[in-house]
């Protein structure tokens, strides 16, 4: 891998029978970058992401994530990345504290380390009052903030966020992005999908997938210039349906 790339993808392809879900995509993501991965429903985002996090084997092409090969080292990838999705967040019937301990264990942190990380988290997110509450009883916004922090527990090189803010209230959505900025600022690479186009503007660079291919990839500013659009929503509308 080149000096400071955390992801390098070359002609990555995934076919299901006759159907090409991801069609020869090529891109790089740099360390500490906030990379927005956009596309219409069914454009192939989820399939591409599954290959990058080591849970789906590509049909052809090359990809390295956090220094590991997606074909031959998927287990190493899993240990070195964080992942959070809108659907699978945390265990609802465990408390906040139990969730942190559980995921710390999964990531192979020592007990001492888990304890240390847990106190840090409680402090940072102001979780004092709710640390012994069942996660199921918390508002969605809280769950998402906690699961983001948990995805960072083992200090991964890169964290993948799959629609982390869907349905979250506007204030919490912004607090969530401030957390993203903060971790990017401290060197963690962020790979994020979203359907909120204002959030696309917060990314350093954005790619837009259409029918399995990456149709555009650049900074939001350059994309807007290129497509003569006032905002990312217009860029998206111009591209996503050809």
């Amino acid at each position: 891998m080149k000096n400071n790339n955390v992801i390098e993808v070359e002609n990555l392809t995934k076919k299901f029978g006759d159907f090409t879900a991801v069609n020869s995509i090529t891109f790089e993501v740099k360390k500490g970058e906030i990379f927005g991965f956009l596309g219409a429903n069914g454009a192939g985002k989820t399939t591409a992401m599954k290959m990058l996090i080591g849970i789906s084997k590509p049909t052809s092409g090359k990809a390295q994530v956090a220094g590991f090969n997606v074909f031959t080292q998927p287990e190493d990838i899993k240990k070195n990345i964080g992942y959070m999705s809108q659907k699978f967040a945390l265990y609802d019937d465990l408390t906040v504290k139990e969730n942190i301990t559980f995921f710390g264990g999964i990531y192979g942190l020592s007990r001492a380390k888990i304890k240390e990380k847990r106190s840090e988290l409680v402090e940072e997110l102001g979780l004092g009052d709710i640390v012994n509450e069942l996660v199921g009883s918390l508002p969605l916004g809280w769950k998402q903030k906690i699961s983001f922090s948990i995805a960072l527990l083992h200090s991964p090189t890169i964290v993948f966020l799959d629609e982390p803010t869907g349905g979250v209230d506007p204030i919490t959505r912004r607090q969530f992005w401030e957390m993203i900025y903060k971790s990017a600022n401290s060197g963690t690479t962020i790979f994020v999908t979203t359907h909120y186009m204002d959030e696309a503007e917060y990314c350093d660079r954005v790619s837009i997938m259409v029918d399995g291919k990456i149709e555009a990839l650049d900074t939001p500013k350059k994309l807007k210039e290129h497509y003569k659009a006032d905002n990312m929503n217009e860029v998206f509308l111009k591209l996503a349906r050809g």
Binding site: N41, G42, R174, W177, E201, P220, N231
Partner: protein, 300 residues
């Protein structure tokens, strides 16, 4: 009134999901319930579609009481729940036929009403519903909710998780349905969709915060909002939050929306402050208020 809700409340054990909510929807109106997950939107829908009893309060839909006349309501409303709830192992056509039969009608009889929407999925009519893409499922669910020509249509978060292009198409469909005289109550967590409704209710934690036309709601925002930008967004937010006169600081696309505590705020002063804090390419200009700004102000 097509929908009339008076002081309804609903609790589940310790949680008050809906707290003394009242609103009215006029005939032919496109009315939006705007609020995040957990605001109580689904509980309101379930009470109005006679699937759940309120603890307190009364409501009528199409002139019928939700408790006494529940059978009439069921014949007169279409309901598209947030969660896909068609039969996954029936085909597209079988699902539609099933719903038509249940309501004592046929696809042919009301085809005109759903034509616009159904033609888009008709090529896949032999496919099982479970094997459809998200966008196609949504269109099928809407067709099924419309097949008995309801007077009132309830759409619970029809666009959640849907990409911006499909969302735009969906709202265009809603506008066309409205022109056919159907009253529509729709909920959404996307604040930009609020502006497409005739009137909206902003809702959070089971309480309605405000009801009005989107234009009036925006007009009542108490402050002037400034778009602020500089090269490093993260540092910009930090700096604005440390500025002693700041009232609110919210990232908003490529800008930060800034409001000041003082009425006689001079943007020049903020410009100087940011320049003194090493920000590059600073731009400050007055901007338009959006529903999202209002919502955040009300829930601050």
């Amino acid at each position: 009134m097509s929908i009339s809700v008076k002081n309804i409340s609903k609790s589940f054990k310790k949680v008050t999901a809906v707290n003394d909510v009242s609103f009215e929807v006029k005939e032919g109106e496109l009315f939006g319930l705007i609020g995040p997950d957990g605001a109580g939107k689904t509980t309101i829908f379930r009470m109005l579609t006679t699937l759940l009893f309120a603890d307190k309060g009364t409501a009528t839909v199409a002139g019928f009481d939700v408790v006494d006349d529940y059978k009439e309501i069921r014949n007169n409303v279409g309901y598209m729940p947030g969660k896909f709830s068609l039969y996954q192992d029936l085909t597209v056509e079988e699902n539609l036929d099933f719903f038509a039969t249940i309501f004592g009608t046929t696809i042919e009889e009301n085809y005109e009403l759903i034509k616009d929407i159904y033609v888009q999925i008709e090529p896949f009519k032999k496919r099982r519903a479970g094997a459809l893409s998200g966008g196609m499922k949504q269109k099928l669910a809407l067709s099924c909710a419309l097949i008995h020509k309801p007077k009132v249509l309830f759409l619970d978060e029809p666009t959640t998780g849907v990409d911006p292009v499909s969302r735009k198409e969906f709202w265009e469909m809603l506008k066309r349905l409205q022109q056919k005289g159907i009253t529509i109550l729709v909920s959404t967590p996307y604040m930009d969709e609020a502006e497409l409704c005739d009137r909206i209710a902003l809702i959070q934690h089971g309480k309605i915060l405000q009801i009005d036309t989107p234009q009036e709601i925006i007009k009542h925002y108490p402050k002037k909002i400034y778009d602020v930008r500089a090269d490093n967004m993260y540092r910009l937010i930090e700096s604005l939050k440390s500025f002693e006169h700041h009232y609110s600081v919210y990232p908003f696309g490529e800008y930060v929306h800034y409001t000041d505590k003082r009425d006689d705020f001079n943007p020049q002063e903020l410009q100087q402050y940011l320049a003194a804090n090493d920000h590059q390419n600073i731009k400050i200009k007055i901007t338009k208020t959006t529903i999202e700004d209002t919502f955040m102000e009300l829930t601050k």
